[in-house]
């Protein structure tokens, strides 16, 4: 009885979305079908599911959504520009690629094209690989009904970073962008993802990005989340690394009503390096959830993960980091830590670092701390004439700054430091 009810709920939810005609062309018909099939076998996640224990999705699933293609936008994209940094730009408006607002490369090193322009082979070798479609309802939802997709292929060392700007606007709109990022052998690419939203209410942004880091290649992926009100965000990133490659994912959340980030890295080759850094500072009633998976499948690799957050007012922070070291993955160095400062008595932080090791010759550490701001340090700074607010801001900056300092692009680093109110 209740199961039928749940299924009906899912069907109702999906039927509203599916009312719109999304592009379906031959190559992708079966892919969308697979997503659809997965959805039908899944229920909405609840807090009884371990993966969603601290993030209630009813906020999202109780509403009905539609896709919305806009002819013009109200927002100002220059807000996310990074001063002094020349980038290629891909602008997606409510999940749809906007060529007019974009500025694409004109060289052989980097190729940017829509899925419609991709060959069957390109799509089948990259699309939905390692995706948590089977277990994650929202990934399956994206696979079935992604609004539009872009494939970015770096064939060599790219001269400029690619800045992907996601713009959101509207009420009860769903945006499901889907992007593939590929660094071929020996290539190097940095990607920056920024978001802008304006006039949003009950907006559901559900993106999926897949990353393929080829042999001996380098990829850096920087995400800056700075949402105005009215956005519910689920952002799923899945990366696969080949041998001798280097992948770093950085996630900086400035603000957002409700955000869930899933960042999963599968290391499928030897001698790889993987880095995961993140900072978050929920305030008010915000809810910021970061889930990561660091999966070591092959030997002789290293991974570093460090997430830091300050939680204020009645806000909630969630961190769940799983590190797997598989049976054959000997000689792995895997480090993970999550540090939090609770700035109010009503703030909540749920932190769960997890380590599953099946190999015996490994060096791993993980840990989590949640504490208060150092009152002694606040007093010291105040005794020099700083207001309590400035002293607190300076100490928060110092705390979160550690992971912001990891940004390798100086202009971007300055911008993010400034956004967090650090100098």
């Amino acid at each position: 009885m209740s199961s039928t009810l749940t299924t009906n709920k899912v069907e109702g939810f999906v039927s509203h979305i599916a009312e719109n005609n999304l592009a379906v062309w031959n190559e992708l018909k079966s892919i969308r079908q697979s997503g659809l099939k997965a959805i039908k076998s899944l229920k909405f996640p609840t807090t009884r599911d371990e993966y969603w224990k601290y993030s209630r999705t009813t906020k999202i699933t109780k509403n009905h959504y539609h896709f919305s293609q806009l002819d013009s936008i109200k927002g100002d994209l220059s807000k996310v520009k990074i001063e002094g940094l020349d980038t290629y730009e891909i602008v997606m408006v409510n999940g749809f690629f906007n060529a007019e607002l974009s500025s694409l490369p004109k060289n052989d090193i980097i190729e940017i094209k829509s899925f419609e322009e991709c060959t069957t082979e390109e799509l089948t070798s990259y699309f939905s690989q390692n995706l948590d479609t089977i277990t994650n309802f929202f990934s399956a939802l994206n696979t079935a009904y992604f609004s539009e997709g872009i494939m970015i292929v770096a064939k060599g060392v790219c001269d400029k970073p690619v800045h992907v700007i996601h713009y959101s606007e509207g009420n009860n709109v769903i945006s499901q962008p889907r992007n593939l990022f590929i660094t071929e052998k020996n290539a190097e690419l940095s990607i920056i993802k920024s978001s802008i939203n304006q006039n949003t209410e009950n907006f559901f942004y559900n993106s999926v990005n897949e990353f393929f880091i080829g042999e001996n290649s380098h990829m850096n992926y920087y995400v800056i989340q700075n949402y105005e009100e009215g956005m519910n965000v689920i952002s799923t990133n899945v990366a696969t690394q080949e041998k001798n490659s280097n992948f770093s994912a950085y996630n900086y959340t400035l603000k957002g009503d409700w955000i869930r980030n899933n960042t999963n890295i599968f290391v499928k080759g030897e001698n790889c390096e993987s880095n995961l850094y993140g900072a978050y500072q929920p305030k008010g009633k915000q809810h910021i959830d970061n889930h990561t998976i660091m999966d070591h499948i092959m030997p002789n690799c290293e991974s570093n993960e460090h997430y830091k957050g300050t939680v204020d007012d009645k806000a909630t922070g969630v961190f769940n980091g799983k590190v797997f070291v598989r049976k054959d993955a000997q000689k792995i160095n895997a480090f993970q830590s999550n540090n939090n400062i609770l700035l109010s008595d009503d703030a909540t932080m749920n932190s769960k670092p997890e380590l599953e090791i099946y190999a015996d010759d490994v060096k791993c550490s993980h840990g989590s701390t949640s504490g208060q701001l150092d009152e002694e340090a606040v007093f010291y700074l105040q005794s020099r004439g700083l207001s309590k607010e400035s002293a607190t801001a300076l100490l928060i900056g110092a705390f979160l700054g550690e992971v912001v300092e990891k940004i390798k692009l100086p202009e971007l680093k300055d911008k993010v430091l400034e956004m967090y109110g650090m100098e």
Binding site: Y380, S383, G385, K388, S390, L395
Partner: protein, 250 residues
């Protein structure tokens, strides 16, 4: 400049200061001595506005104002400076950055413009030279990885930058070798003038050879039990504190 009357303060219900009376005038140097645990650091913390302590009785007048009514940062901006006995390390906060903020917020509270970058740097150069503090240390995080002596010199450097009316030096000499002691004392003496005052808290007479006090007080069990001139310090050096303890406990 400052007039402390019958000051009582406690922490966690335990009374530490039990009626302090002290009057310091502009241009004067007062030394407060006393055995460990007598309440010297507590007095400095209370004057700096540490809210961990509860003031149960008494008053503090600072240049005509009721000091106890003001917050820590307001007191600092009014000209109260405390050189901490144990300066803490603050990783991630750069010395220069925080000092510039401190100076600018102080200026703002007085209705003044922020300090020009050029003037700030010139001031840093001059004042750090005064205490022979390596400029590379200033770019680092507050006290992080500093030696004991460097931390103490950094306190005096900050004092020089902030130009307080009343400086309270809480055992600035402890842990310093004789050279560092001379440097720190030279800094303090250079900053001294007829408009400001200094309270030097120390355990040893040694410092008072370099920073010569006008008055010496002995703090014991939360009270000033004896006051005199610099000869009192010499007497304490010679005889220790036992005779004072005996006098008080008798």
């Amino acid at each position: 400049m400052i007039s402390i009357k019958n000051l009582h303060a406690s922490i966690d219900g335990k009374e530490i200061l039990k009626g302090i009376n002290l009057e310091v005038k502009a241009g004067e140097v007062h030394a407060i001595m006393g055995p460990n645990g007598s309440g010297k650091s507590t007095l400095s913390s209370v004057l700096a506005g540490n809210e961990d302590y509860e003031i149960t009785e008494g008053s503090v007048d600072f240049m005509g104002e009721d000091l106890l009514e003001y917050s820590t940062e307001e007191r600092a901006r009014m000209g109260v400076f405390l050189a901490f006995q144990y300066p803490i390390e603050i990783p991630g906060v750069s010395n220069m950055n925080f000092l510039r903020t401190a100076i600018n917020e102080t200026r703002e509270s007085r209705g003044e413009e922020p300090i020009a970058a050029k003037d700030f740097l010139a001031m840093v150069k001059e004042k750090s030279a005064l205490v022979e503090l390596d400029n590379s240390l200033l770019k680092r995080y507050v006290n992080e990885g500093f030696s004991g002596g460097e931390k103490k010199r950094n306190e005096i450097f900050q004092m020089a930058m902030l130009e307080p009316k009343l400086a309270i030096l809480d055992e600035t000499d402890s842990g310093l070798d004789i050279d560092a002691l001379k440097i720190v004392s030279h800094g303090v003496n250079t900053l001294k003038n007829q408009e400001n005052a200094t309270i030097v808290i120390t355990h040893y007479q040694r410092l008072l050879d370099y920073i010569v006090p006008d008055f010496v007080h002995v703090l014991y069990k939360g009270k000033i039990v004896k006051s005199g001139t610099k000869e009192l310090a010499l007497e304490l050096e010679e005889k220790g504190y036992d005779w004072i303890k005996e006098e008080v406990n008798a």
